[in-house]
């Protein structure tokens, strides 16, 4: 984005909660929404004499994330203490990584744009302060010590929209790998944004501000938009930007200064003496790499290039790994894998199945209609065994009862009539019983043909192939002429 002769430089620091059974340095459950202070122990409440023991699963998750983001995994990384006093931090230091993070130098592709990732490091989360009454604050240590991965981008994002895109892509990759739910509303993904402006064409970075307290992708976008306008105004009036941390206020739609650079913490980082260097063997890295599924970008490319789907459909199908897996599974079961049939399948999934699930407010579920059932249904339609219209009715029954389309067709006798003689017999019947309409048709009123088709469909309970009926009616009436 550039206006007023400035261009925008944005860097994002994203924290994601890692999905693990237990916390980062103790064996308390890593759970949300429990009664306050029910998942705590001497270690995560910072009692005297306790020691941290790193969670192997969290390390694996962090390495998996690093690899999925194209990072180099450091075979040896170092935990460090980041020191500051706050009641939600029981030890008054956070175990994090500073000089040697677990992962470095990755990237995310946004179309053809490459946004580089500086580093990703492991750390423990703090607790939650609850300001209960006027002069009382409470603290819940359930979240204390849960594993976090901080992913830092290079300052290469050039607009609030691109920032949101980056976050969406990042979320998708991490969700595909089962690393995190990445739900900003629920706090399993948090984002701080550094933003500065510089004269167009200048190589030097301007003074940046750090934005905090955005609770959705939309909020990140809005906060950045506001902050860019604010900085433009300051610079436009000949002023200077102060390096500071600013808090986004969602209700007011503004940012306000929280602390300046001078008030910034000196975190007094030093290597955590209670933990040895974190060593990951090359073999382990390989096995983690092998466990990474095909990522959304690759799947989108495959759908577009190999399958001929539209970019839009490819996007919808890959929004979640479960949907894409479902599509791939159903696709593999299609008898006729013509591109036309595959497109039909994509359509039935994106429009009918997702539409229905969305209407019910439920997330994607593959158990309502299994991939083989879906493939079977599309197969019948593709082969002309049933019409699209019948397909929808059958889909409804499948959705509600979990039965296969074949069963529905057999039970209800819903099979499409494609037998020429049978159709011809019904058409004759209809022509003979509707002389008035036939007359009108003969006089050249083509529009009434639809009435005759409708009557045939009625007599066949909708099972006759409409195209065949149409042709047969014309043929029969033509001969009589």
């Amino acid at each position: 984005m550039n206006s007023g002769g400035y261009e925008t430089v944005i860097g994002l620091e994203v924290h994601v909660h890692l999905k693990t059974q237990t916390k980062m340095f103790c064996r308390c459950r890593n759970l949300f929404g429990a009664q306050p202070n029910t998942h705590v122990c001497p270690v995560c409440t910072g009692q005297p004499g306790v020691l941290p023991v790193a969670n192997g699963k969290a390390i694996e998750q962090a390495a998996r994330a690093g690899l999925a983001l194209g990072c180099r995994i450091n075979s040896e990384s170092v935990f460090a203490r980041k020191q500051y006093f706050y009641p939600d931090l029981p030890k008054n230091y956070q175990i994090s990584q500073y000089e040697r993070p677990i992962a470095e130098k990755g990237h995310i592709m946004l179309g053809d744009r490459k946004i580089n990732i500086t580093r990703a490091h492991l750390e423990e989360d703090a607790g939650k302060l609850i300001h209960a009454e006027s002069d009382v604050s409470l603290v819940d240590y359930n979240r204390t010590g849960t594993p976090l991965l901080e992913i830092v981008s290079e300052p290469e994002i050039d607009s609030p929209q691109e920032a949101a895109e980056y976050l969406k892509e990042l979320r998708q990759v991490l969700r595909y790998c089962g690393i995190s739910d990445c739900d900003m509303e629920k706090g399993s993904m948090r984002c701080d944004a550094n933003v500065s402006l510089r004269k167009k064409g200048s190589k030097e970075l301007g003074v940046k501000t750090e934005l905090k307290n955005m609770n959705s992708f939309k909020a990140v976008e809005k906060a950045l938009e506001y902050e860019i306008k604010r900085q433009e105004k300051v610079l436009g009036e000949g002023g200077r930007i102060t390096q500071e941390t600013r808090l986004w206020n969602e209700d007011k739609g503004t940012t306000r200064s929280m602390r300046s650079k001078e008030e910034a913490h000196d975190y007094r980082y030093f290597p955590e003496p209670d933990l040895p260097r974190l060593v990951i063997e090359a073999e382990k890295i390989k096995s983690i790499r092998d466990s990474i599924p095909e990522l959304p970008a690759a799947r989108r490319r495959r759908y577009i290039v190999q399958t001929g789907l539209s970019e839009y459909d490819a996007g919808v199908l890959t929004q979640e790994k479960e949907i894409s897996d479902y599509f791939d599974a159903a696709c593999g079961m299609l008898g006729d894998k013509s591109s036309e049939n595959i497109k039909k399948l994509a359509n039935w999934i994106t429009v009918e199945l997702l539409g229905k699930l969305n209407a019910e407010g439920s997330g994607f579920r593959e158990d309502v209609i299994s991939p083989p059932h879906m493939a079977e249904l599309v197969g019948y339609i593709g082969a002309g065994t049933i019409s699209g219209k019948m397909g929808k009715d059958i889909f409804e029954i499948m959705y509600n009862k979990g039965v296969s389309p074949g069963e529905v067709i057999r039970e209800k006798g819903l099979k499409q009539i494609t037998d020429g003689d049978q159709i011809s017999a019904v058409c004759r019947e209809v022509i003979e019983s509707s002389p008035d309409i036939v007359d009108k048709y003969m006089q050249g009123k083509d529009g009434v043909l639809g009435v005759l088709v409708g009557n045939v469909m009625k007599k066949t309970r909708g099972q006759a192939n409409p195209a065949m009926v149409n042709a047969k009616l014309r043929e029969l009436m033509g001969r009589r002429q």
């Binding site: 004499g49 023991v53 030890k91």
Partner: protein
């Protein structure tokens, strides 16, 4: 009588655990009154414990290498349900919510814990005088300090109140008071004894170890508490399960080195002569004595007083009055709550070290202080490796002086720090070291010899210690 014979007596039914404890209780009470050895006495629970052990024995189970043995632990070790003060006002009423691994191992071996011993506040001190609960005194002369920081753990063994105790050693806090009280005190290889449940002073230097009246008992207690602990990521498996056998080892030849840097200026003449005498007698017993050099010794105190306070400044940050421990009664706001609680809860020496450590880790100073000190540690490691290429064991004085008078050095922290000049290197490098009493000076005060062994050679250390002990029997 040593631990082994006492345990046999109990196992054979000649004496019950309770009877044994009852012999010790008057000594403990008397010693506590004269020497202020304990911060918390646990005599009621000790009696119950002794009785329950007796019941167990009656039921046919008389297992445990320390069955019925009365012991004490330094008050910086967690024992569930008991107070753990660390000698500080800030933890005056803190009740341990769990038990330290090493303490749990003592209990599993059948030991009876009679109390939690006095100590310098957060183990910061070399005389026991920084304790919020008043100083412990030296049984050899109650007007003198027992050494520190494990002041009570050394004094209670020297005073025969218990058969053994646990201390912790960050820069000499086991060996130096052992020397001043005239008992055996061992600092194992870093990692051999779990630190889980030991209130941290300086994490990369702290190590738990035993005090006992003789080398064999020390080896027995050490055997019980040593071992890998999955709760301590810095712990290592010793690779052997019986260190007592080293004490009975015979005929093993050793080349013993005496570093000239440990025998120079600042060392009392009497101690110098006694260590030289020890060396001569060892030579006569057939051991080779060699003059060696550890040239980096002169940097040890400086490096130590960067690393230890730096780690301490972070380790002690948790004492803020928010979750537990002392909180100032009515602070105006959060910042004041932090500042005043810590100001009122910590003593001067602790505050001094937190200040030094905070400074050393501050942005702009980190490289010049902390990083450089860590580099010195690695160089010192090489220094020792070279020395141990030449000799099997190092012999030196444990402390430059014998026990000094209470109050003599409290106004001069630097003089106090020099009290650990010979013991600090072991901690910086992670080596095992031990103090063995080698008689007394002309004033009747104990003199200690320190032995240092290569990394993970704790068995050899105990063997050498036994050879020195024999000389003065």
């Amino acid at each position: 009588m040593n631990i082994k014979d006492t345990v046999s007596k109990i196992k054979s039914g000649k004496q019950s655990c309770r009877e044994l404890l009852d012999e010790y209780i008057p000594v403990i009470l008397d010693g506590q009154e004269k020497l202020n050895t304990y911060i918390t006495l646990l005599l009621d629970s000790a009696k119950e414990r002794a009785e329950s052990l007796d019941a167990r024995i009656a039921a046919g189970d008389s297992s445990g290498d320390l069955l019925g043995i009365p012991v004490a632990i330094k008050d910086n070790m967690m024992l569930s349900g008991t107070r753990t003060t660390c000698g500080s006002k800030i933890l005056e009423n803190y009740i341990s919510p769990y038990t330290a691994t090493a303490v749990g191992k003592l209990i599993d071996a059948g030991a009876v814990i009679v109390g939690k011993t006095n100590m310098d506040e957060f183990a910061m001190g070399s005389s026991g005088e920084t304790s919020f609960f008043g100083p412990a005194r030296n049984p050899n002369d109650p007007d003198r300090i027992p050494g520190g920081s494990s002041s009570g753990s050394a004094a209670c063994v020297a005073d025969s109140q218990v058969m053994g105790s646990l201390g912790s050693d960050t820069g000499g806090s086991i060996r130096q008071p052992a020397a001043m009280c005239g008992v055996v005190g061992m600092k194992p290889t870093y990692g051999y004894v779990s630190r889980y449940g030991l209130v941290a002073f300086a994490s990369s230097l702290d190590q738990i170890g035993p005090f006992a009246s003789n080398v064999e008992d020390a080896a027995r207690i050490f055997t019980v508490i040593a071992g890998f602990d999955e709760k301590d990521s810095t712990s290592i498996a010793p690779g052997e399960s019986d260190f007592v056998r080293w004490v009975h080892e015979k005929g093993m030849k050793l080349k013993i080195g005496i570093p000239r840097e440990y025998m120079g200026g600042g060392l009392s003449g009497e101690i110098h002569n006694r260590i030289a005498d020890t060396a001569r007698r060892l030579e006569r017993s057939g051991f080779e004595i060699k003059d060696i050099s550890l040239p980096l010794t002169k940097y040890a105190v400086a490096a130590y007083y960067i690393v230890a306070p730096a780690e301490a400044s972070a380790n002690l940050a948790r004492y803020d009055g928010v979750k537990y421990g002392y909180r100032t009664p009515s602070p105006d706001d959060l910042l004041e709550e932090y500042k005043v609680s810590r100001q009122e809860g910590f003593g001067d020496e602790v505050k001094r070290r937190i200040m030094i450590g905070t400074y050393a880790l501050s942005s702009g100073y980190y490289d010049a202080y902390y990083l450089k000190a860590q580099r010195v540690r690695r160089l010192m490691e090489r220094d020792f490796q070279e020395a141990f290429g030449d000799v099997d064991i190092i012999l030196s004085p444990t402390s430059p002086t014998t026990a000094f008078k209470l109050g003599e050095k409290t106004q001069d922290p630097l003089q106090m720090y020099l009290s650990d000049i010979y013991t600090i290197s072991c901690n910086l490098v992670g080596l095992p070291g031990i103090n063995v009493p080698v008689g007394k000076d002309s004033a009747g005060l104990p003199i200690g010899a320190q032995l240092i062994a290569p990394w993970r050679c704790d068995g050899k250390l105990l063997y050498a210690a036994r050879q020195v002990e024999k000389i003065y029997e």
